[in-house]
């Protein structure tokens, strides 16, 4: 059974304790930023910021309202990064986390390009850079603990548990107060399912979430890769065949000519 986290935007108060807890547990340095005119800080995820609270200014019954969303790796059920990675440095574990092994990575950054959520980040300022992203606190999960951000959340906006159970809980919440939630669990079906699930009072497009289909983004690439062994054998066979046929034809025309020459000589 794989673990997941349910984030409820109606319960989040934007305190950003999760951001601090994440930095503490993963021993990440603070970032020097400038005022961008919002309460949101730092402005985006980076190699030293694995999670952040995103502030959306929305209108609720004519009243101004902040809607918060927590950004971090979604730990997809069919992660594009793991399919993309040529050396399998990124892997989906059966417990849920998509983990990264810097003993394998050589820094091609295909994971960054492939991720539909734009999550893996790169250490652009280091001479020996790695990819960095949320680990789902796989090290804590292994010890029977919940992720650091979930542990620290004071309002219960983050709930850790079995992914299947969380979907049931989310459905119950939507059913209990349909006026408070849009009828959509983001992550239940998106790109084949995410380990992180979201509930929101406003449509997810308004929160800046990408609108994605239910098919994993990896499908076409995996199909193309599946065709590799037959193509390899077919091309090799065709080329060998063509070579042998043409060789034979040339030899035959040569012997014919030789025969002609012989005939002419004997004449």
């Amino acid at each position: 059974m794989s673990k997941g986290v349910l984030y409820d935007a109606n319960k989040c108060i934007g305190c950003r304790a999760c951001q601090v807890a994440c930095k503490q547990w993963n021993q990440l340095p603070a970032e020097a930023t400038t005022n961008t005119g919002t309460l949101e800080n730092p402005p985006k995820l980076s190699a030293s910021t694995f999670t952040k609270i995103h502030f959306t200014e929305a209108e609720d019954n004519g009243k101004f309202q902040f809607v918060f969303t927590k950004l971090q790796c979604m730990h997809c059920e069919h992660p594009a990064c793991a399919t993309a990675c040529p050396v399998a440095a990124l892997q989906k574990t059966k417990e849920g986390p998509v983990i990264y092994d810097d003993n394998r990575c050589f820094g091609c950054r295909y994971c960054q390009v492939a991720c539909p959520f734009g999550i893996p980040n790169f250490e652009w300022d280091k001479p020996m850079p790695w990819i960095r992203k949320c680990t789902f606190c796989a090290d804590r999960l292994g010890g029977g603990l919940e992720p650091a951000c979930v542990k620290t959340c004071p309002t219960g906006a983050l709930e850790f548990g079995e992914r299947d159970d969380l979907i049931v809980i989310a459905k119950e919440r939507i059913a209990a107060s349909p006026d408070k939630y849009v009828d959509h669990i983001y992550g239940e079906k998106e790109v084949g399912g995410l380990s992180w699930l979201y509930l929101s009072p406003v449509p997810f497009e308004e929160l800046g979430f990408p609108t994605l289909g239910t098919e994993p983004v990896t499908v076409n690439a995996e199909r193309a890769m599946g065709a590799v062994p037959p193509v390899l054998v077919a091309v090799a066979a065709i080329m060998t065949g063509v070579y042998l046929v043409i060789q034979r034809r040339q030899k035959m025309s040569q012997t014919k000519e030789n025969d002609k020459n012989k005939v002419e000589v004997t004449k």
Binding site: V87, C105, V113, P116, F122, W124, P127, P129, M225, Y243
Partner: protein, 385 residues
């Protein structure tokens, strides 16, 4: 032949200067990281080096496997004189890719990890393995030029004995990685514009690479015949040119049928401004060359043939830039234009390859008029048949 060339011509001096000028960028990259020399960011992790050096570099090196197949597998000995320069250019093209990756990769010293940690699902894994193997194959295919020069007969005989398996391996590896460069983009269905995104991208990549191979051979051979004074028969060039409309025709047909089948044909009119690039690609790189190479008057003039080949090359470069950069949406809020040092490295690497080509032409039996014993035999054999 060799004495005719000035000992250190101006062109070579300039090219050497460019190569030296781009060296500081390498040093800065290894001291302060990729961010210090490039405009790459988390929003746009792949830039000029991937689009130009990898995507264009690999496609433009397709002359190597297409010509090797034509000469050694399809037995068209007529094209033997251009096969060796094509293989040299292909070999250098792959050197270019590998050198660019030394700058672009975060940890290039671990590139060999691709050999021990396999991910069968990754198109980039296939590209990595094929590029490594094919570079070795190209080195072996080209090695007779060096062995002939050094008069090392034993290795020469060994290479000749395995020549056909080598060429077949080269064709197989090229088919695989030329197409899987397209498969790599299949991973981005949400980011790549539907004008270009299609499950048949691998097939389109392979077809366009096969089309640009002969065009590159015409391009290089025309230039090297000017610079080094080799004579290559007009019938050889015209013969190569004649194949291009057929391959481009298949490419065009695939593109149009695919767009229609997916119901996206309307996008070529509505997807402004990206559709302008699509039209530019099709008109410059596909339709115009199909018409031009079909005209006997074009095929008989080496100048017209050269410029028609340039069109195919420009169209292909545009296509590779479109799919790997321009039509591929970055993360929201990212604008990317390559930095000066990114350009410097790409230009420096091309200059580096040119320098090696110049040296090779001066030191090694590249063109057929330095004819090897085998070449003469073949020529006689051809007359006999």
């Amino acid at each position: 032949m060799i004495q005719r060339i000035r000992s250190f011509p101006i062109g070579t001096t300039i090219i050497t200067a460019i190569v030296i000028a781009c060296l500081p960028a390498f040093v800065i990259r290894y001291m302060y990281g990729l961010g210090a020399i490039s405009n790459l960011s988390d929003g746009r992790p792949w830039g000029l080096w991937i689009s130009f050096d990898l995507y264009c570099g690999v496609a433009l090196a397709a002359g190597g496997f297409t010509l090797a197949a034509v000469v050694y597998i399809f037995g068209r000995e007529k094209y033997h004189p251009v096969a060796r320069p094509a293989i040299l250019t292909a070999f250098l093209g792959y050197q270019l890719v590998i050198l660019a990756l030394l700058v672009d990769l975060g940890q290039p010293w671990y590139i060999w990890h691709a050999i021990i940690y396999w991910n069968w699902h990754s198109p980039l894994f296939e590209v990595a393995i094929c590029v490594m193997t094919y570079t070795a194959v190209l080195a072996l295919e080209f090695s007779p030029a060096i062995f002939e020069r050094l008069h090392w007969n034993v290795p020469l005989r060994i290479i000749r004995a395995i020549q056909i398996p080598l060429v077949i391996a080269g064709v197989v590896l090229s088919t695989l990685h030329q197409s899987s460069l397209g498969s790599m983009l299949l991973m981005m269905p949400t980011n790549l514009s539907p004008l270009w995104y299609t499950p048949i991208l691998p097939l389109l990549f392979l077809t366009s690479a096969i089309a640009v191979g002969p065009a590159m051979v015409i391009f290089e051979s025309t230039i090297s015949s000017r610079v080094f004074g080799h004579r290559i028969g007009q019938d050889v060039m015209a013969g190569i040119g004649r194949a291009i409309p057929y391959i481009l025709g298949i490419y065009l047909l695939l593109k149009l049928v695919d767009l229609t089948a997916r119901g996206n044909m309307g996008l070529v009119f509505t997807e402004y401004p990206l559709n302008l690039l699509w039209w530019a690609e099709i008109i410059i790189g596909v339709v115009a060359p199909i018409v031009l190479f079909s005209l006997p008057s074009v095929r008989q003039s080496s100048r017209k043939l050269f410029w028609s080949a340039v069109l195919v090359i420009v169209g292909l470069v545009l296509n590779r830039f479109d799919v790997s950069m321009i039509a591929l949406a970055p993360r929201p809020g990212t604008i990317y234009f390559p930095s000066l040092m990114e350009f410097a490295i790409s230009i420096g690497l091309v200059a580096d390859a040119l320098l090696v080509i110049i040296l090779a032409h001066r030191l090694l039996p590249i063109a057929e008029n330095h004819a090897s014993a085998e070449g003469q035999e073949l020529a006689q054999g051809q007359e006999a048949t």
